[in-house]
Amino acid sequence: MTLTRRDTLLLGACATAFVFSGRGMAFASAELAEEAYLEFTGGAEPELGRVTLDAPEIAENGNTVPISVSVDSPMTADDHVESVLIVADGNPNPDVATFHFTALSGTAAATTRMRLAKTQNVIAVARMSDGSVFMDKKEIKVTIGGCGG
């Protein structure tokens, strides 16, 4: 099954709703984010590489930060990306979204918009069909507006 862009947007919306439900909790930490992705990888420490997280260096509005993720993979029955997890280590809850792929997806790429409470790291982790795991990490600056209230 292929995730269309529309599905991706829906997923993004759900992820945002999920983050909202965590309001009032303490902000996530690097540890919580790491916990989240280690659960996803089954405890394996992902290697940097193969995953490309495309995100703005500076987000002018933390409410809707556009991000894209793609994974370098032949996407064959024997060798493809199974899932990609996105976590953010400064939101009330680190979980953002999980995208699932099969060999029939053709490419392992997804775009969504996410909410960032403050300047923080966004981490994308890909789990391959052979169980190997890869990641990319970007710090996104969430700006403070100039014209105060």
């Binding site: 703005p56 500076i58 509005n61 556009p66 600056k141 507006g145 014209c147 105060g148 209230g149």
Partner: protein
């Protein structure tokens, strides 16, 4: 989705168009029907649309676009106020005030203030004050510079914090105490924190992709409205061919001086007044219908270089008025348009983490979807919001001065292709 519908709608309308005189011919007629009475917007205008946080502020004692003589008078140059006696300056309190965004956006909006000032995304409209404490300025100089810098420089962009009642005398004393502690430059660990090296934002999203820009969906409404009969039984389609044909360049020629109303009409006001006079529909400015139709009429003209009339007597006079207003200080924060948007002043600099654009290059992408508000803004709302942000009372969107400013802006954006609707933060 909508493009399929556009085609489906376009075919019968195109057939209809063949039977009728094209609109471009009727356009040459001297008088386009316009409803010339009353306001084209909500009347009386209520600021409540912006919410209590903005609407509750009383800015009536300061200049607005329609009353540029309301603010207290300029102080004479060199007439320094005595530093109030008996108040001990507290650098800690001053540090908090300097970062307090409720106090006019904070000192950090425009100044780097050393490591103590907080190195997180300060602005650079004003000079770096990281070592102001070593410059040997006395208390009187610093106090007066914050209280009302116009006693030193009447042209300054800096607000008269004390004279305009944003900071109290005591608060200014605390800020002076804080400034005297600033003696070392900040070392930015990340080039994005330093306003001199922070990358300039690049907007490369495809604003006309409906999956990127929710404003595109609103044009479905415009397609329905185009063929929906108003109270007179007529619709837009009763007289006009499909908009893609009749209006393929029109929006780029707007706004236009309209002698019957003695003001400049933009697409939005024109849509209200023309529809009211023909189909009877009442699409008030900034209503959902008006925004949808105005956006659609620009969308079908996308790519057309802006080319407005600046030569008629009315247009010339409007542009001259706008030119004066552009340099007029407004609101409690006492900013002119030029203070923030002229290259020699605030433009192409950072006000905290936000980049200040120039007056050329913004207009062609309006109306925009604003992600921070989840709203579609036409250019008039953008201008209104500028007033709100500088703590001045905005006017109704159909105010004559906004027409003047829109025409002047269009002349500044001459030749740039329309690219609407777009998306911004």
């Amino acid at each position: 989705m909508m493009f399929g519908r556009m085609l489906a709608l376009g075919a019968p309308l195109a057939a209809l168009g063949l039977l009728m005189a094209p609109w471009s011919e009727t356009r040459a007629a001297p008088e386009v029907p316009l409803y010339t009475e009353g306001s084209a917007a909500q009347s009386p205008w209520e600021r409540s649309i912006y919410g209590a946080r903005w609407g509750d502020r009383d800015s009536s004692a300061f200049n607005t676009l329609d009353n540029t003589n309301a603010s207290p008078e300029l102080p004479p140059i060199g007439e320094l106020r005595p530093v109030p006696a008996g108040i001990a300056g507290d650098p800690e309190k001053g540090k908090e005030l300097a970062a307090n965004r409720r106090k006019g956006g904070s000192c950090l909006a425009c100044h780097v203030m050393g490591p103590a000032g907080n190195a997180d995304l300060p602005g650079n409209v004003g000079p770096d004050l990281s070592e102001i404490g070593t410059f040997g300025h006395d208390d009187s100089y610093l106090y007066n510079y914050v209280y009302d810098p116009r006693v030193f420089n009447p042209e300054t962009s800096m607000p008269p914090w004390g004279a305009h009642g944003i900071l109290t005398e005591e608060e200014v004393v605390h800020i002076v105490a804080f400034m005297k502690t600033l003696t070392s430059p900040v070392e930015f660990s990340d080039p994005r924190d330093d306003p001199e090296t922070r990358p300039v934002p690049v907007e490369d999203r495809d604003g006309q992709d409906p999956l990127v820009n929710p404003a595109i969906w609103t044009m479905e409404t415009a397609l329905d409205l185009y063929e929906e009969a108003g109270p007179t039984g007529k619709s837009c389609a009763s007289c006009h061919s499909p908009a893609e044909e009749d209006f393929s360049t029109w929006a780029a020629s707007m706004p236009v001086w309209e002698p019957r109303l003695d003001k400049v009409l933009g697409v939005e006001e024109f849509v209200y007044r023309h529809a009211r006079a023909t189909t009877g529909a009442e699409w008030l400015m900034q209503s959902e219908e008006n925004l949808a139709m105005a956006m659609y009429l620009r969308f079908v003209a996308n790519g057309t270089p802006i080319d407005v009339d600046t030569e008629s007597e009315g247009a010339k006079a409007a542009i001259a008025r706008a030119e004066t207003l552009y340099h007029t200080k407004l609101g409690q924060l006492n900013f002119s348009c030029a203070d923030c948007h002229e290259d020699s002043k605030g433009a192409n600099k950072w006000v905290r983490g936000q980049w200040l654009g120039e007056s050329r290059g913004q207009l062609p992408h309006f109306p925009v979807y604003r992600t921070s508000r989840s709203e579609i803004w036409d250019i008039r709302k953008r201008l209104q919001w500028c007033n709100v942000a500088i703590w001045a009372d905005e006017l109704a969107p159909d105010a004559k001065v906004y027409g003047d400013l829109e025409l002047w802006l269009s002349s500044k954006n001459e030749g740039l292709p329309l690219n609407a609707p777009n998306i911004r933060h």
